[in-house]
């Protein structure tokens, strides 16, 4: 049994997740440090015996390719589906076990255990996700364990664990340059004393973009991120050691990103061109956060953790959104023979006819402010018994979040390939505010008995939402209450073989004022784990039985208003996910680490219906869900020593349907199957100097990775990166 006391460690918390033991700096301060509460799984050891599925990607893994794109990072994890969009992962579309990947809205996203989506209850589409380069680890939690991390439990949760304050003075300067003027500079420094510690990090990265506009404008992005942690802890041998960690963060982004893709014909000609109609598109955002974390060890067997948090996110996205008379861009791109004038205008090859709103380009600025704050308190009790031990977690969270939308539209004429504003049209597309107050209570008991570990939990959510349409001068209220039970069992059958099974209720709330039902499912999983000194593998089957699947309209969807929700009725999703890692020691200072992950997924709508939600449309009983690949896989091999590390990874994503269907997928609108190969070569020049050279997509594979929001979108072409990291 793992004692809480073990969490009061003399080792650096950062080392728990960041560095191999032999690299750890054995210079801990005299006062024992309490591990920062940045992980939600308890680490790899806890995951190994978890009665459910979870993965931990530690800093060692994140460093292998130094990915900044969360979509790329998630390729390590089975059961996680990614729909690429901009090629840089600026706004990832991630789903877990069939939960829709659209803007990662059906998964619970956290930073250090704190809800981090801009408004996870009110508007869960994740237009903000923490930058990967400042993370020490990423955790993915699925199955029964996910009920600790609501509100979205239908698929699972992702937690981003930030770097811990170092034990002694030290820092890093980390610089990368690459294709398309890619640049990344990260500087961090921290120090620790008897009672105080701090850490500060500055990050900037960006690129000019790999797509090209006819007028030569950039299509890239720049992100800046400034974060600091301040820590105070009790000194000496006090009865109840405690620690306060204050984290302050500010991040901003400016990107020339668009929703506009290409027709298939143009994609075949040049997948990296961008139409003239997207030349004004720009996304601007800033994110501020204040998180205060408090841990107190009330006794050797009782730890109390409190998290007080405040986040604010402002964004505006000025972008092409079709035509003023509402002819959808997708309709024009998919049926250019029906709209010869409009496709010509989008491309900049034809001028708009003055006075004709049908040919006036809609440039909409979706200006929004999001905010969230709350307090989460959880207690962890270690209960030792004669026959079995228990680890009891009891917690509560009060949370409030909101989104304030002010969407305006202007009409532009296309003239000689340039968008020109003649003040032909301007208007309001949405002026509303929605907010949610939510109380969550959760309890989980881990029972350790002989070779068994039983995890049983219950989550309760009471969600009160309000939607105020200032344009229509109407209000709507909604209230949802739900109990989410879950139980998982792990049986260590032999020293190397373990079996697991679990079931939990999945839930994803409907939005404030929504007339749609909440998304609910019963999720089952069962599998086997094997682990010896060299090989670690698990194979887990899952079955998600949705009582109701919710579709949510985004600005990019046709024939619906932003925020409309649609009942998808019953859906069944099932599959198998497998991971494996094998470590070969060559006895010559070199070793061969091999790893693989694979997921097979099938899905079936259980009802026939016609939906106004453009991503569903006409659904027949038995249709597969769109954007859910049947097969995804990653195989990685490497050779490494203390000086050199070389890795090559092959990633495969099966073709995906753009709309529901059950016929041969090639007869329908689909994204391409894509196999890409990445490699990285690292050289530890000295203990403090690392150089790294990576190539993404070595064979420069081109594919349609998405047909959303508007038209065919390409993956990132072959890209080269050179990195230097200096540690001091």
């Amino acid at each position: 049994m793992k004692k809480i006391a073990g969490l009061l460690a003399l080792v650096s918390s950062a080392n728990l997740i960041a560095q191999p033991e032999d690299n750890a700096k054995n210079t801990a301060p005299e006062t024992p440090r309490i591990v920062e509460e940045v992980l939600v799984t308890g680490g790899q050891e806890a995951i190994d015996t978890l009665g459910g599925s979870a993965q931990l990607l530690d800093q060692e893994v994140l460093e292998q390719f130094d990915y900044t794109d969360l979509n790329q990072v998630m390729s390590f994890v089975p059961g996680v589906y990614v729909r690429q969009e901009d090629g840089y992962g600026l706004r990832p579309n991630i789903g877990i076990r069939g939960a829709t990947s659209d803007r990662s809205q059906k998964i619970t996203l956290m930073e250090d255990g704190v809800l981090i989506s801009p408004a996870p209850y009110t508007a869960p589409a994740a237009y903000y996700i923490p930058n990967i380069p400042r993370m020490a680890a990423v955790e993915v939690i699925k199955g029964p364990s996910a009920i600790l991390h609501g509100p979205h439990t239908v698929g699972g949760a992702i937690n981003f664990a930030t770097k811990a304050i170092p034990d002694e003075a030290g820092g890093e300067i980390d610089a990368t340059i690459g294709s398309d003027a890619y640049h990344k500079l990260r500087v961090q420094y921290g120090d620790n004393s008897e009672q105080f510690g701090y850490w500060v990090e500055a990050l900037t990265y960006g690129a000019d973009g790999f797509k090209e506009l006819e007028n030569g404008d950039d299509t890239g992005f720049v992100r800046n991120d400034l974060n600091t942690k301040l820590q105070w802890r009790t000194s000496g041998d006090v009865d109840m050691p405690q620690q306060f960690t204050l984290k302050l963060g500010y991040a901003d982004e400016e990107s020339d990103e668009t929703y506009l893709g290409l027709t298939d014909e143009n994609f075949d000609d040049d997948p990296y061109q961008r139409y003239a109609a997207s030349q004004l598109d720009k996304f601007e955002s800033d994110h501020s956060q204040i998180h205060l974390d408090h841990v107190i060890m009330i006794s050797d067997t009782f730890k109390l953790n409190s998290k007080l948090y405040w986040n604010e996110f402002n964004r505006s996205w000025n972008k092409f959104d079709g035509f003023i008379d509402n002819t959808p861009a997708n309709t024009v791109l998919n049926n250019e023979e029906d709209y010869p004038n409009l496709i010509g205008i989008i491309r900049g090859e034809q001028d708009s006819t003055p006075g004709d709103n049908r040919e006036l380009i809609d440039i909409t600025n979706n200006d929004r402010t999001y905010g969230s704050y709350g307090l989460q308190v959880s207690g962890l009790f270690d209960i030792a018994g004669d026959k079995f031990d228990q680890e009891l977690t009891v917690g509560a969270r009060y949370h409030y979040d909101y989104v304030d939308r002010y969407h305006t539209v202007k009409g532009y004429r296309m003239e000689s390939g340039q968008l020109v504003d003649y003040n032909d049209y301007s208007g309001l597309k949405g002026d509303n505010k929605a907010d949610t107050t939510a109380l969550a209570l959760f309890i989980q008991d881990k029972i350790f008995w002989d070779a068994w570990e039983i995890t049983a939990g219950l989550r309760y959510e009471n969600i009160e939402g309000k939607f105020e349409d200032r344009e229509a001068n109407t209000d709507k209220d909604s209230n949802q209450s739900v109990f989410m039970p879950g139980i998982g069992v792990f049986w260590q059958y032999t020293e190397t073989v373990g079996l697991l099974a679990g079931v939990n209720k999945g839930f994803s709330p409907a939005g404030p004022g929504s007339e749609a039902d909440p998304e609910e499912s019963i999720n089952y999983e069962a599998g086997i784990r094997y682990e010896n000194d060299a090989l670690r593998t698990d194979v887990i089957g899952f079955f998600s039985d949705y009582d109701n699947l919710i579709g949510r309209c985004r600005a990019s969807d046709t024939a619906c208003d932003v925020g409309d929700e649609f009942n998808g009725d019953a859906v069944k999703i099932y599959g198998v996910e497998a991971t494996g890692s094998y470590y070969i020691d060559l006895d010559s200072g070199y070793s061969l680490p091999l790893s693989a992950s694979y997921t097979y997924t099938r899905s079936e709508f259980q009802e026939t219906f016609r939906s106004d939600f453009s991503q569903w449309g006409d659904v027949q009983e038995g249709d597969e869900l769109p954007y859910l690949p049947r097969n995804i896989a990653r195989v990685q091999a490497g050779i490494e020593s203390d000086i050199w590390q070389y890795f090559v990874a092959v990633k495969y994503t099966d073709q995906m349907r753009d709309v529901p269907g059950q016929d041969d997928i090639r007869e329908e609108a689909y994204t391409d199957a894509l196999t890409t190969v990445d490699m990285s070569l690292s050289w530890n020049v000295s203990e403090s100097l690392l150089t790294q050279f990576t190539i993404d997509n070595i064979f420069d594979e081109e594919a349609v990775v998405s047909r959303r929001p508007f038209g065919a979108r390409p993956n990132k072409p072959r890209s080269y990166y050179a990195r230097v990291k200096y540690t001091f």
Partner: protein
């Protein structure tokens, strides 16, 4: 006009029949985009193109009306008049097909184009106004655009070509026509023909405008029609358009004219007939019914029957087609014009026979137009019940809320 929105309540019944809106049919449901493409390409645009072509043959310097004008007083006058009349009948028949899809450009600006083509649904022609215009048109300052809509379109041309009575229809205080009846027969024919040419030119221009508005290489209103954002709006418009059979064909063309409707205070009101002068009222109705049938069956492409089938009530289509067939058969078997039938009903006995014929349309009567009313009523009753409910299910459902 019956709005589909108001008929939504009927949907409840159908939803109950269909298990809360979810059909268990394993057949592929109809793609609305493809349906609208087919309706535009196989019915709507061809109807406008045919009308435009026919009107072009009627109008212009080489059109049949001008040829008749030129032939007045000559030996070929009668032949030229017959040719012009036939050209008008062709144009009218072509437009009658388009009468059941009155939405889009033809109804823009408060029916501006429709009023220049055929304003019958809203008002009858003003024969006195036309008589005045025939005189005024001889003045070089004559401004046809400024004339009232009841002097324009196919109805006006019909009066000018088919009315054999050259006497004006105005009261004595109308100055323009005070000396009309004193003019020679040839002069009155020529003046009426001159006006007919002007009206035909305007008619042809209006029809060409409607066609160009819809055509892909014109203003491509087709693109608006097939726009998925407007699928619900146009499904309502299509459904409303088909209720032309109820509000115009049944209630006005037959109901008022044959005295079945209380809006006619006499035994019958033959003056309310469409195309009374050409005695082609029933032929018009036949074309209306054929066009309705095209919308149902798709005329070679997807039709509304596919939506009805998706809703799980294919019997509705079968019933409608049967009733349409009954109505057309009634017209085909009848050789007496609606005008003549209407004028024959001048007693309570005949009125009762007509009323009975509407209630039992399959039982032959002396007034087949009254039987026809009954057959059309069968169609419109089915439209109001099963059809609207089935079509309503094709309107995608969404629940309003907020999230993105």
């Amino acid at each position: 006009m019956k709005k589909i929105a108001t008929a939504m309540s009927v949907m409840t019944l159908a939803l109950t029949m269909q298990g809360c809106g979810s059909s268990s049919s394993s057949e592929e449901s109809t793609e609305l985009y493809s349906l609208y493409q087919d309706l535009a390409d196989n019915i709507i645009i061809p109807n406008y193109q045919a009308s435009s072509t026919a009107a072009a043959g009627l109008a212009g310097a080489s059109g049949s009306i001008q040829q008749y004008c030129d032939a007045i007083g000559s030996g070929s006058e009668a032949t030229a008049l017959t040719t012009a009349k036939n050209a008008w009948l062709t144009t009218m028949a072509a437009w009658q097909r388009a009468e059941v899809h009155k939405f889009g450009p033809v109804t823009d600006d408060e029916n501006a184009l429709q009023n220049r083509i055929l304003p019958y649904a809203d008002l009858s022609i003003s024969t006195c106004g036309i008589d005045q215009a025939a005189v005024s048109a001889q003045d070089v300052s004559f401004d046809f655009d400024a004339r009232s809509r009841n002097q324009k379109g196919l109805g006006s041309i019909e009066y000018l070509l088919f009315n054999t009575d050259l006497t004006h229809t105005c009261p004595s205080q109308i100055t323009e026509t005070t000396d009309w009846n004193a003019r020679t027969e040839q002069e009155r024919k020529e003046w009426r023909c001159d006006l007919a040419r002007i009206v035909a030119d305007d008619l042809s221009s209006a029809m060409a405008s409607v066609t160009t508005e819809w055509e892909l290489d014109g203003s491509n209103y087709r693109g608006v029609f097939i726009n998925p954002e407007k699928a619900e709006e146009f499904l309502t418009a299509i459904s409303d358009g088909l209720f032309y059979l109820e509000t115009i064909v049944k209630d006005k063309k037959l109901g008022i004219a044959m005295g079945i409707s209380s809006s006619c205070s006499d035994f019958t009101c033959p003056s309310q007939l469409e195309s009374a002068y050409s005695e082609s009222s029933l032929a018009n109705i036949k074309v209306n019914l054929e066009s309705f049938e095209d919308f149902l069956t798709g005329n070679g492409g997807l039709g509304l029957d596919s939506l009805i089938s998706d809703a799980g009530v294919p019997q509705v289509t079968e019933d409608l087609l049967q009733y349409v067939d009954d109505a057309i058969t009634e017209i085909n078997n009848n050789s007496t014009s609606a005008f003549d039938q209407a004028t024959e009903i001048d007693s309570t006995l005949e009125e009762t026979e007509c009323t009975n014929a509407t209630a039992a349309p399959d039982t032959p009567s002396s007034f087949p137009a009254c039987n026809l009313y009954g057959h059309v009523k069968n169609i419109t009753d089915t439209l109001k019940s099963g059809f609207v409910a089935a079509i309503s299910q094709s309107i995608p459902e969404g629940a309003q809320s907020d999230n993105d």
